[in-house]
């Protein structure tokens, strides 16, 4: 038995070098480590991940559904999947890309529901209020320092135009654009999330930006 252990240790030593000879080498990604700790029953590890990514994931969902209440419902669904996926989680990729994969699938499924198809056609539809009564539109006005009503109106119109332009992009271009621009994922991470390659992601983002320039140039970009 001892001989087998020594043999295994020597093999690891020879293959990996003296600094990496430990069998349970910790993953360099701290979030992946936290998720691994959660899979072993450490509830606090999940709490840390939940607190870290709540705002990010809600904002990601918000970019697709355009309503805080719906974005929170989606984020809840996503975190429930993460919570219940602890038994099947494998640290093959970074936790962040695994989370965004779940989030992206949830957002795509949500957008394929009939009500969002209608929403895409009518951008002017009134924004639904969330459970707490706090709508995104209220926040939108609150976070601007330009309190002049005309400026507010102009900003609102510009945001509407931007959302319409982004919503009009093909699905993969939209996902790649939002993931890089607003979620600050690298091309490599986006490639993992979209099950694609880095050159493909590079091309998707380029085409997305070209389309956005063409759509927004006549109205918004030249202001």
């Amino acid at each position: 038995m001892t001989g087998q252990v020594l043999h295994g240790w020597w093999l690891t030593f020879l293959l990996k070098g003296p600094g990496e000879s430990e069998g349970t080498e910790p993953d360099p990604d701290p979030d992946t480590n936290l998720m691994l700790r959660f899979t072993q029953g450490d509830q606090q590890a999940f709490d840390i991940l939940f607190n870290k990514y709540t705002r990010t994931i809600i904002n990601y969902a918000f970019k697709f559904v355009g309503d805080l209440g719906a974005a929170e419902d989606l984020a809840q669904e996503i975190f429930l999947k993460v919570y219940s996926g602890k038994n099947t989680y494998r640290a093959e990729a970074k936790f962040k890309t695994w989370l965004y994969k779940i989030a992206t699938n949830a957002c795509i499924s949500e957008l394929r529901k009939p009500r969002y198809r209608q929403t895409l056609q009518s951008i002017d539809a009134p924004v639904h209020r969330s459970e707490s009564g706090e709508s995104a539109r209220r926040l939108e006005i609150a976070d601007t320092e330009q309190n002049h009503p005309l400026k507010q109106l102009e900003l609102k119109e510009m945001r509407k135009a931007l959302k319409a332009a982004v919503d009009g992009l093909p699905e993969n271009q939209r996902l790649a654009f939002i993931l890089t621009k607003y979620q600050t994922l690298s091309y490599q991470e986006v490639a993992v999330v979209l099950n694609s390659s880095e050159p493909a992601v590079k091309s998707l983002i380029h085409r997305a930006k070209e389309t956005l320039i063409a759509k927004l140039k006549p109205t918004s970009l030249n202001r």
Partner: protein, 181 residues
């Protein structure tokens, strides 16, 4: 380097995703191409413009709602066999495709059933025209049917109108003659 490739690299460069070798080529192209310089200005304007998309803050009740949902899910012992199977096998089912596949299989099965329906009984000649083997089978079945009919008549002799007369004549015959008849 073509302008199209250069513009793709320009977008990547602005995101900090361009390799060192490509950056040099990009710099050289930008020094001589007016159209790409204009495109760079447009890209920069788009980058600034995209910054206006608002960020939202989660509502204060979000955490409580989530943990309530976790408790709710934990208290509901629902065994979803397919989900469990999928998680074990590490694949997910595209339910829309699965439904299409089921419908196609049903259609295929039905068509097989329709094709295997027995040949409708027709005249002997028409059967003979179709295939000699089928015709021989047809004759055999008909012969069997005739035998069954004869047997039926013999079994129901009592029902015949003149059965008693036939029976009496039969009984009056000598025993030796009865055997031959």
């Amino acid at each position: 380097m073509s302008c199209e490739v250069n513009r793709e690299n320009l977008t990547a460069h602005m995101a900090g995703e361009l390799a060192m070798g490509e950056s040099e080529a990009l710099r050289l192209h930008m020094a001589v191409c007016v159209a790409c310089t204009q495109y760079l200005a447009e890209l920069e304007r788009l980058e600034t413009f995209c910054g206006i998309w608002e960020e939202v803050e989660p509502s204060p009740k979000f955490d409580a709602r989530f943990w309530a949902a976790v408790d709710g899910a934990a208290n509901k012992p629902e065994l979803r066999i397919m989900d469990w199977l999928c998680s074990r096998l590490s694949f997910s089912i595209n339910w829309r495709m699965a439904r299409v596949a089921i419908m196609l299989s049903l259609c295929f099965g039905l068509s097989l059933l329709v094709m295997k329906q027995p040949v409708p009984s027709g005249t002997g000649s028409s059967v003979a025209e179709e295939s000699p083997a089928t015709f021989a089978e047809f004759l055999r079945i008909q012969e069997e049917e005739d035998q069954i009919k004869d047997f039926d008549v013999i079994a129901n002799l009592e029902l015949l109108e003149h059965f008693d007369e036939v029976k009496n004549q039969w009984l009056r015959l000598p025993v030796a003659q009865q055997g031959t008849n």
